[in-house]
Subunit: 218 residues, 2 copies
């Protein structure tokens, strides 16, 4: 493989990552839709689609290992491959949380919600926007945009705390719906964790470019 | 570096992994102790100790990258390095959950517990035993023991479901303690997730030996 061939292989890896990222974003978007509309069929579909994410994860890891064996990359090329294998774990974990939320949807399918779900889907929109920004920053190897994408996590954390406290307050007055409220608390927690994984993507971007490992998840 | 030198480097990586693993087990053990005894100081210590886990994580990743660049390993040697970089993420995530539990301890430090905590620490003991078995299986590259370690996850899941349902039942009768019960539900969930990460270690062991990626987290 010539140097150009290696570049092409890296470009293919980037495309794979973006494809995996957009599937993950779709899973998150749809798990919110399923939750809000109590759409059992869609929730089942999300659970099923996770196989595709897992397969992409394995395929990308496989390509990375083969590329390392074949090309024996150094410095930044090696860091590109290494960070790709790390990124896919973050993306795969995000998709797992979408499945967790779909499973909660199935558990709540016959319950009348205590209130219209507005802030939780809003949080999910912010989370998806953060995933997109962080992946774009990674593929463009853009440290500045990686830091910018990270800042969204603070807003998400703020919203998370508000929703969490609101739900706990409702729970402390409403014995009948403790199960439902607990499940919704977990949904919030999962969205917050997805954002943490997006923060990891920003960290990998910084590492890719600078070789420095930063911890932005404080 | 001669072939023997590479073997020594791999042995060093294994020792690093085991060291990181035993710190993680200690963090999990101590976060249970802090929770049960409502020991604020110990909880703070656990949060502080996480820096050590993060540093070990980065050091091991760094060694893996340098070793790949220097040795240009192939086949199983490459899989050893690759799986090591994956394993440390699982260990680091486990340690993060110990920190999450320590933070819950701080939140509950002034509350009288609704009941003596017995099953949750029992679950933690099982989780730690699973971590130890899965890491030992990995270092010994022992597929059979990896599958055996995985089986513990079923028992942990069973205990998790029992505790979860019991807590929910209590919550539905006890408005005053909804916050506490919710926090304890999260503790259970975190322990269950730690076990999932131990399952990942078993999967990496199978991959290391056979080159096949299995999904045992079903």
């Amino acid at each position: 493989m010539t140097r150009t061939g290696f570049d092409l292989a890296l470009e293919e890896l980037h495309n794979d990552l973006l494809r995996m990222g957009s599937i993950v974003e779709k899973q998150i978007h749809q798990c919110m839709e399923a939750l809000v509309k109590q759409d059992e069929e869609l929730a089942q579909q999300i659970i099923k689609n996770d196989d595709l994410v897992d397969k992409l994860n394995r395929d990308i890891e496989d390509k990375c290992i083969k590329l390392t064996a074949k090309e024996q990359p150094l410095a930044r090329d090696l860091r590109t491959i290494f960070t790709t294998t790390k990124l896919v774990t973050d993306l795969e974990r995000m998709a797992d949380y979408a499945v967790d939320i779909a499973k909660i949807t199935l558990r709540l399918k016959n319950e009348k919600y205590i209130k219209e779900l507005i802030d939780i889907p809003k949080m999910a929109v912010m989370v998806n926007s953060m995933i997109k920004s962080s992946l774009d920053a990674y593929v463009a190897a853009d440290v500045e945009n990686a830091y910018a994408a990270c800042k969204l996590d603070d807003e998400i954390d703020e919203l998370y705390k508000n929703i969490f406290n609101e739900l706990l307050t409702i729970a402390s007055k409403d014995l009948k719906n403790v199960n439902q409220i607990t499940q919704l608390l977990f949904v919030c927690k999962y969205l917050e964790r997805i954002a943490d994984h997006a923060t990891n993507i920003c960290e990998w971007t910084i590492y890719l470019v600078t070789g420095e490992q930063k911890d932005l998840n404080e």
